[in-house]
Symmetry: C2
Subunit: 279 residues, 2 copies
């Protein structure tokens, strides 16, 4: 098949999967890498198959190739394969069984301690450490790195899912991984081969017009766009999970009640006690 | 050339660029997508050439395809092409001229306001909003999305650089982009074609052993690894910028003194005043 026609066909399909029915510029550029990015699905059921040798090193090289603010490299990673540890981490995350199933579980860390140790070794007081800015830089560094690892994994036909529920109990995570002060497990990441029973489609997102703006913030049609997305998500959930529900209902359920936070409403105090004063 | 040999050659070169002299597993998997990730360089000088039609839509589709915590989609984007606005944003960032040069400047937003408006429209109080956890989710969502856009851009031979200095004056950014409360410009991103005079190499990173651990945190050889990285970075800076300096010296310079924060030590108070109580 002509590769330009093939590209155009692939693009139309990927955009339809991601947004439902949508107008998208014919001229919008496309290639295999972009197709890979658009094909992302979070996977919550894994085969026991181990990863090919050297996979962690490749994922890590990809992760370290992401930008890092001022090259400070304020993140670290603990790779978990020990079944006992994965079981403990799954418990913290409200018994998410995929944490136990996946052959490799990565805990991504906002890490001020390495550069703090450098300061101690060199006799320099690191004045920037206690500020929320520095914590934010570390969390963003970790996120950029992790996303590169996700792309690398998916390019190798591996699947992933981020586990925000490490923040349900950051102190327990720190204890299990023997984290020093000023190190915080921002999120986990399951890596492995998807179970063959996983048939989930790509999840639709809000229309571009609802989240991206030109020059100034906002779109007067926001509510209309939300309602059109609600219809897409209801159809998607009906096709994939048998219970039709709108995006609006899901967000209201998740953000309306403190109980949806599973203890994460205590995060500020916990961070303070872990060595992040967040001034 | 045999594609397996080609792959192996490409891998050896990319790993050497990223880490200097390094032992890397022969078996570590490799492909074109991973090569793209490893090839990242931040670029700070751009041609005036505009982007091909539809590029923003493609970058945005890639960005929206990244994972987002509980599908809450707590991020937004303002795309800036107006030269006057770019000049103002460059000033905020300490006169980084590449913000004016690049044809497209993206400001990535942690955005609680969209779902807050949903709550108001649906008569539901969104109890989770005031917590540091929710702000962190929004900032991470924005970072994952932005990193996908970076990968998509680089796959199209475009270059990028993140601009953390949007946080030098978040209130001024909010004023310029007409951001409502509960929306915060986490960072900017220049997108464009690199100037032909840009000859920068890929920047080396810390050895993998210094940032990634197995089962528990830490490496007793940390200081030795830092010193070996210092040598790589001194050689790199000599080759690329004519002033040899170690990583240690750069980090001490950046993190040792409050003055290195360019006002960002005030971020907590500013976030509070912008609608993020960060409880």
């Amino acid at each position: 098949m002509n590769s330009q026609i093939e590209n155009s066909f692939q693009k139309t399909k990927a955009i339809k999967n991601r947004y439902g029915k949508v107008e998208f510029p014919d001229q919008a550029p496309w290639n295999e890498a972009i197709n890979l990015l658009l094909s992302h699905k979070s996977v919550r059921s894994y085969k026991a198959d181990p990863l090919p040798e050297g996979t962690l090193e490749t994922l890590l090289a990809a992760a370290q190739s992401a930008a890092t603010s001022s090259n400070l490299q304020l993140w670290s990673l603990v790779a978990i394969t020990d079944p006992i540890k994965k079981t403990e981490l799954a418990k913290i995350a409200g018994n998410q069984k995929h944490i136990e199933q996946c052959p490799l579980f990565l805990v991504w860390l906002a890490d001020l301690s390495r550069n703090q140790r450098m300061g101690a070794e060199e006799g320099v007081e690191m004045e920037v450490m206690p500020f929320v800015e520095t914590f934010l830089v570390a969390a963003i560094d970790a996120a950029l790195a992790a996303q590169n690892a996700v792309i690398a994994a998916e390019s190798l036909q591996l699947s992933t899912v981020y586990i925000g529920a490490m923040r349900n109990n950051p102190e327990k995570v720190a204890e299990l991984l023997q984290l020093p002060p000023e190190v915080f497990g921002v999120f986990g990441l399951c890596v492995g081969y998807a179970s063959p029973d996983i048939k989930a489609e790509v999840k639709p997102r809000l229309p571009q017009a609802a989240i991206a703006f030109h020059e100034v913030y906002g779109n007067a049609e926001e509510k209309k766009l939300r309602i059109s997305y609600d219809r897409e998500m209801a159809k998607f959930s009906e096709r994939n999970e048998m219970v039709a529900d709108t995006w609006t209902n899901r967000v209201l359920g998740r953000m309306g009640k403190l109980s949806g936070m599973n203890g994460r409403e205590k995060l500020m105090g916990i961070l303070n006690s872990m060595g992040f004063p967040l001034r």
